[in-house]
Amino acid sequence: MKHVRLAAGGFLGLTIVAALVPLFLGPVDLPTAQHHLLHAALIAGALISALLFAAPSHKTGAAHYGWLLVAILSPVAVMMLMWPSEYAWFEQHPGGHVLEHLSIIGFAFATGYAGQRYAAGIGWVTGLSLLFMAIASAWGFGVAPAATGALAANVPSRPAVASDAESNSGPQTSYAVPPYFQRIARYVTASKEPEEKARH
């Protein structure tokens, strides 16, 4: 048991070290698909360590359903952190990038650990589910062939929300927080209807 705990700690340590890499590399410019896959590698490390850490001591009927809720909702949080249009900002801000990585690792760990605490085997299921989502993202989430026809009409000729112009302006942009926080805040306070109508 002690060896398992040591291995779990080792995996978690290695994963956290990998998450810190942006601090050493500085600003980078990665293709979105590759960035998704690197996040998937972090997720895999966190999951392995969570599964090794978790001793399924509770029986299914007795386990608190909160564990299950955490195991099912954490992958949603991870996928939200893998918001593709924010990668450009994170890649230019190593500190924020590391925080993003640590958050991904935290939620991935929670996915495996909480699932396994709910019932033996469920951590594997929820963990593999999250890993699949992260890997599959590389083929379509913020990654698409050149748009033509109706699809081209769907890609805004200018940023759909005001902050896009700033967030797309490259390395020199500097915000205190990732732009999606601003974008979501503006989205809920201002309707996009007039812009959409204008586009159509």
Binding site: T60, A62, E193
Partner: protein, 489 residues
């Protein structure tokens, strides 16, 4: 694993009836929507195209969700007879389902969402006649249903893994590969309905994963339109979830046959090696059969088109043959008395075979060339849902009520309900197939001839079916009251 005995579980029954009642209530609402749409296609009712597509979106997602909720309730109860289950988790999943349904209704009724259940990217975002928040409400509603479904699947799978000793026990792997040693050791394989539960939970979780990924991607695109999505990737994920979820509704409900038919025939439905292997086929192939929805997507890798065709056969045929053969053998010379419960269960097997055959025909590439996106497609899935899943759900509900009340419905009621549900059902379904064979396209508010003619016949059939369904509901309530009266006395 020896001595596998079912224990009646009153808490499980409450969960089951909550789910069944909710599912059937949503079903009734969706029937009314469906009748309105068919009447509109017949030219008997004026519904503007925008409203039609909104109603079609609601009808599509609502019907599948309704049948799934009812089926999940049955399975939850059946699993709770063998394994320790927390009813709180069932109600948590139920809460997610309800919240999702409310969001979907809001997006359709005041919001006029109309990109159908398939919500194929970029349709919900491009050229829309509804406001942006409507698409968001639709996507969030769908994601809530998916999360509820995944909670349900995880709970069932956890319970089964614990009760039957891991995945080897749940899938009866030792029972199949080391049969003699397994039997000699005094062990028993899981009962047949546990296979239905396990396959629903495993494939459901896989489908939920695909569905959640695409819905999250679309929610992100909704908030930030600069995030592009690969349309083919999106379509694969949507159909992986959609096809799997719709297909699994049958496997949820079929568990009721494994338990209900033996109650009617006073015989046991045993797990056998062919039954276990057939369910492995379903487990493996249901999740990849969806490729048959993408036959006309020529950008798709060609090999998966063949995989889609082969998987469509292997997912359905073994389990249908083994289950229906077993069911017919149970009934044969059993002296079973026909009640509404046994009628529904038996007729449901026929509906499963007919709807499944029509589906497999359509999944055959040379035939699909002619039938793709014609009314043949709704023909097969309406048969599957209406004369398969619904009848299994109602069959199980009536068998339970008849057992509780210690009596069954009289001959006149059986005839009236039978004529309505089966006769009206046939009259409703046949026009789909005939119009489909004539090449009438599906998903259009107004159809070319002979579409309107067949839509008229279908409307009459659906109205008759509705009368039969309402009679059955009243009869169910009567049987439920009988028990209560008996209990007081």
């Amino acid at each position: 694993m020896s001595g596998i005995v079912a224990i009646d579980n009153p808490v499980g029954k409450r969960v089951m009836w909550t789910y069944i009642a909710t599912g059937l209530a949503i079903f009734l609402l969706m029937v009314l929507v469906g009748i309105a749409m068919r009447a509109s296609q017949a030219g008997w009712l004026t519904i503007d195209p925008g409203t039609f597509y909104s109603l079609l979106s609601l009808h599509g997602v609502g019907m599948i969700t309704a049948m799934a909720i009812a089926g999940l309730g049955i399975l939850w109860y059946l699993v709770s007879r063998y394994a320790k289950m927390n009813a709180g988790v069932a109600y948590l999943a139920y809460g997610f389902f309800l919240a999702g349904v409310v969001c979907v209704i809001v997006s359709v009724v005041p919001g006029h969402y109309g990109a159908l259940w398939t919500m194929l990217y970029p349709l919900p975002f491009t050229g829309t006649y509804w406001p942006s928040w409507t698409t968001g409400s639709w996507l969030i509603g769908n994601s809530l249903v998916m999360i509820g479904f995944m909670i349900w699947c995880a709970q069932i799978l956890g319970a089964l893994l614990e009760r039957f000793g891991g995945i080897r026990g749940v899938l009866a792997i030792d029972y199949v590969f080391r049969n003699r040693a397994f039997i000699a050791s005094g062990q028993e394989p899981p009962p047949p309905e546990m296979f239905a539960a396990a396959i629903t939970a495993i494939d459901g979780f896989i489908g939920g994963t695909a569905g959640l990924l695409i819905v999250i991607a679309m929610i992100v695109h909704w908030i930030d339109p600069t995030v592009a999505i690969n349309p083919l990737w999106a379509k694969n994920l949507i159909y992986q979830f959609g096809h799997t979820f719709a297909n699994l509704t049958m496997y949820m409900a079929v568990a009721g046959v494994y338990v209900g038919l033996p109650m009617c025939t006073k015989r046991e439905y045993h797990t056998s090696v062919p039954l276990a292997v057939a369910w492995w086929g379903t487990l493996t192939f249901v999740i990849i059969a969806y490729f048959h929805h993408l036959y006309m997507d020529f950008a798709q890798v060609q090999i998966v088109q063949y995989i889609g065709e082969i998987s469509s056969y292997l997912a359905a045929i073994p389990v249908v043959v083994v289950t229906v053969y077993g069911g017919v053998m149970l009934v044969h010379r059993s002296g079973m008395k026909w009640s509404l419960g046994s009628m529904f269960l038996f007729a449901g097997m026929i509906g499963w075979v007919v709807g499944g055959s029509a589906a497999v025909l359509d999944a055959t590439i040379p035939i699909n060339v002619d039938l793709h996106n014609t009314l043949w497609v709704p023909g097969h899935f309406h048969t599957y849902l209406l004369e398969g899943v619904l009848l299994f759900v109602m069959g199980w509900a009536f068998v339970s009520l008849e057992q509780r009340a210690g009596t069954a419905s009289n001959l006149v009621m059986r005839w009236l309900v039978g004529l309505g549900m089966f006769g009206g059902g046939a009259l409703f379904l046949m026009p789909f197939y005939m119009a489909g064979a004539a090449g009438v396209p599906r998903r259009y508010a107004s159809e070319p001839a002979p579409g309107p003619y067949f839509a008229g016949i279908a409307t009459i059939g659906a109205l008759i079916l509705l009368v039969g369904f309402l009679l059955a509901v009243f009869e169910a309530l009567r049987l439920a009251r009988l028990k209560r009266a008996g209990a007081v006395a």
